[in-house]
Symmetry: C2
Subunit: 568 residues, 2 copies
């Protein structure tokens, strides 16, 4: 077996069936091997798309792989890898590299920047483990180490294969890649003490709440959380990053907790609880509503990647999966009545209230506007979009949202599969991520929520989806600019984006499309999109100052917390 | 004056009138300042475009500036900055950054990856100087230091402005930014000895040759080289990176030296010369024809950034501009007859020979082809493209070429302004670089040579050019795939690119366009493009196996040097 076959053998064993990439001369021999071993690469339009597609694939499969060339390929993939690091997504970058035999400073090879190690050092800043495979004798152990670290920590990794070692012979793989080694070091006493304490806290609590974070999705603990919630009859909340880590169609799912910026009923439920059990929660600036979460210190349990905090003390070295398993083994069914949330249910009568009828052109005008604003005669309102999306059969779709109000509108949709770059907040995520989602979970059609600014960045990956026979529905919310930036600042000429002819562009890339300028047209367009046998783009004309509920609260928060936009 | 005004004051003093960027929340206050001081930012579609546009602007103006946000903005700009480092282009990245007051590891701010210094460390790998402006007291000195290093070394730099220091008051700038400090340390004796020796070598030589490299363009020494060549009556060659650093319309310009991969007549002239004076030459793998240049060791003079090599000895610490000035001061007019090259001239009767009439469908078929290849009924031949481009009035255009055969075809064009990423070889360079060229030199219309693979990466920056009122002519050479990769490997399914409807896309972005499938149609299309009052895209249908002369030699070299594509 050669070195590159070893890599493909290992990633196949971890559930990978496709990689994403763009060929280039330093990686050509690696591409020849992927063809030989039957691990096809989805060739994207541009490397930023490669990275986001592989990130999305990783979120479904437990590993995603980007196959890129040295220099331009790898450096153009860097931002999505940084995103995957922040978002805890197990993404492996495999880069071609210059020949070991040519790594002499006096030879100026193309694609090389300062030194032959510059790219490795750059990648060390955005990965959990990174290596150049420059020795066939140690390569298998190095590959196994990097892959284990990626899969265990749910963070990206980096492997560079010098061009003259692609076919170097290496030792055969030994067994399956061991990923459970962590558990051998778990203290049974600590696990027993921690989980007993948590179970007792929940049992004694008046109103316990289960708070599911992004780590639950990454560590594949969703089923365990459903069982725990059902057995203990706890209401469940998630947060920005954790959205859909617990299925939102589940009757015990209450909503998304976001401190002062989220739904006030959820805030009241969580901040007023006497026992909040957080699992895999990552506390970020926006996710916590700019640190306005107020979970009581003596009501708080936080089960993290390898650490458990109970009230004011902590247990180190307890892996999340082990803790979840021990909790399930220990928890007896509760006598409480099971909470029920959702449309018109007893515990939550007003969730997802239907939008009122469209008003006529009377959306609010921002008084301090100094930038030119073209008149927008007819628009789809944010409330219309939310209502229409909640009318879809969500079990048929993987929802993917870009940054900005696309994402905040997405928060209002009940979804079981929902992808976003919710922490790192990189515009341009959604279109390529939909490609990765479609390849990883072909049984669900990708449904993309994207603004015009983000579509201008990576929208051409629509063509790659068409190439792969995917049929995404793309809801392009065209408000003619960078709406989120305007919302936190004020109208500025540099927030304006000229409207491209997005429908002509969609057709040029192999998709169908139509425009919607009212709630009625949006509903009809969604109907046609669902019937369409091709990729389908709906350009919904929206007003930039018609904000989603969350965005409106963010705007209000920023304007009250600081002394107005000038101090931003 | 506040810290950010100080930055804009300094870059304005260095010839910058526009920056390139995309706003984002961490950089919003910096954008507010650019508006106040009247230094408008050209807002691009995506950050890879930002970087290449600013690189191209830098090549004209001596400095280009990218204005990006923290995290996604800066990391998406990284690859173009690496390109600028390799290509020696003075590009400054100004990034917004998190507040100094919030730089605590327990706060998870969005856009932050591992640590608050990760981005700085990443940028240190691709810049000559990089700093976070976290102290108003030292900021002016730091800004001046970074800018001086960028402008002197012709390499990129990085400045990060924390959001809470954007309007921090700083000391006023002291005088103009001093860039000539290097000269104070120049040894007059060394300068005298080196230049006397060089002048004597040239005078004694039978056939001296002036070899102009990319450093001549970067250090703005083109006029000095013209004077030197004319006074000493030397033929002039350039190389891949140095193309158009000496005007190709000049009668003494002979051609491009590329060792065994270039024009054999140029190779004979240079390798056979008894005195080759190289100025600002950067020896790269491809530029030297894979190290097949054979300049005689006792005939060789190399005048570098701050070092002069004469035969087997070297002088350190002599800046290129000082050496050029001293040579001019010392050189007496030669008695030799001035060489004359170009179409039909005595010394070079066959340069730029006209293309033969188009043949009918008889372009060569690659025998080992296993990948599916669609029939291409009518095509424009590479020879037609070269002939047509050489028929243009090159004084009206800034030629910008992407990587691959676009670039090698560009090498066959006589041009005085020619931009390419000739060393770093990053696909996707040309479209955004044309934007930078158009903003920096509005008197010349950008003329882009780009393949379909590269256009798919960054072609949407066409819209940004339209936004800015530029009227580029884009010659899109559509061979349905990554032609250069196929040329150095063999046909593969993963080199195929589906043809988007590029003309519909051009119209969707605000340009006109038409398709050319023969030499005659190409000529007519070029005529209409020249008349057009808008941006104009010509999609020339080409055959993937119809290679430019240089590409054909590269292919032959690779296939002979290695044991075929499998060993690549």
């Amino acid at each position: 077996m050669n070195l590159t076959e070893y890599v493909f053998h290992r990633i196949r064993g971890l559930g990978v069936e496709h990689t994403f990439g763009i060929p280039g001369d330093f990686v050509l021999p690696v591409y020849a091997v992927q063809e030989e071993v039957g691990m096809p690469t989805v060739v994207c339009a541009h490397e930023p798309g490669v990275g986001f597609a592989a990130d999305a694939y990783a979120r479904f499969r437990g590993l995603g792989v980007a196959l890129v060339t040295y220099g331009p390929g790898a450096l153009n993939t860097l931002n999505p890898v940084a995103c995957a690091y922040a978002e805890q997504s197990p993404l492996l970058v495999v880069s071609g590299g210059p020949e070991v035999a040519l790594r002499r400073p006096d030879l100026h090879l193309h694609h090389v920047v300062k030194t032959f190690e510059s790219q490795l050092r750059i990648y060390r800043e955005v990965t959990v483990d990174a290596a150049i495979l420059d020795d066939p004798a140690t390569a298998p152990a190095t590959i196994d180490r990097v892959l284990s670290n990626v899969v265990r920590s749910k963070r990206p990794g980096y492997l560079e294969i010098p061009r003259d070692l692609v076919r170097a012979l290496v030792a055969d793989p030994v067994g399956r890649l061991s990923l459970a080694a962590d558990d051998r070091h778990v203290s049974a006493g600590a696990l027993e003490e921690a989980t007993s304490e948590i179970v007792a806290m929940i049992a004694a609590a008046r109103q316990p709440v289960l708070y599911v974070g992004v780590g639950v999705r990454r560590h594949a603990l969703t089923a365990a959380m459903i069982e725990l919630a059902e057995r203990l009859r706890m209401p469940v909340v998630t947060d920005l990053l954790g959205k859909a880590a617990f299925p939102e169609s589940h009757p015990q799912f209450a909503g998304i907790y976001m401190g002062a910026l989220g739904d006030p009923r959820i805030r009241e439920m969580v901040d007023g609880s006497d026992c909040v059990v957080g699992v895999g929660v990552l506390l970020t600036d926006l996710g916590t509503g700019f640190w306005t979460q107020r979970i009581g210190a003596s009501a708080r349990v936080m089960i993290g990647h390898d650490r458990v905090e109970v009230r004011h003390h902590a247990y180190e070295g307890l892996p999340m999966a082990a803790v979840a398993g021990a909790l399930l083994a220990k928890a007896s069914p509760s006598e409480r009545a099971a909470p029920r949330f959702g449309f018109g249910t007893a515990d939550w009568p007003v969730m997802g209230e239907p939008a009122p009828e469209p008003a006529t052109d009377d959306f609010p005008v921002i008084v301090e506007s100094r930038a030119p604003r073209r008149p927008r005669p007819a628009v789809v309102r944010t409330a219309d979009v939310i209502a229409a999306l909640n009318g879809l059969d969500q079990s048929r779709y993987s929802f993917v949202a870009d940054v900005g109000d696309s994402w905040f509108i997405g928060l209002e949709i009940r979804a079981d599969v929902f992808l976003a770059a919710g922490y790192y907040s990189s515009m341009g995520f959604a279109m390529p991520a939909a490609l990765g989602a479609g390849m990883a979970a072909p049984e669900r059609r990708p449904f993309v929520l994207v603004g015009d600014g983000a579509f201008q960045m990576t929208g051409t990956e629509l063509a790659t989806m068409v190439d792969q026979g995917l049929r995404p529905i793309v809801l392009l919310l065209n408000n003619g600019g960078y709406g989120m930036l305007e919302a936190v600042d004020r109208p500025r000429t540099y927030f304006e984006r000229r409207s491209w002819d997005y429908l002509a562009m969609a057709r040029a890339l192999g998709a169908q499309g139509e425009r919607a300028t009212s709630a009625g047209e949006l509903a009809q367009a969604l109907g046609r999109a669902q019937e369409a046998r091709s990729a389908y783009v709906i350009e919904a004309m929206t007003a930039r100052d018609d904000l989603s509920p969350v965005m409106a609260r963010i705007r209000a928060h920023i304007q009250s917390a600081w002394s107005g936009p000038a101090a931003l």
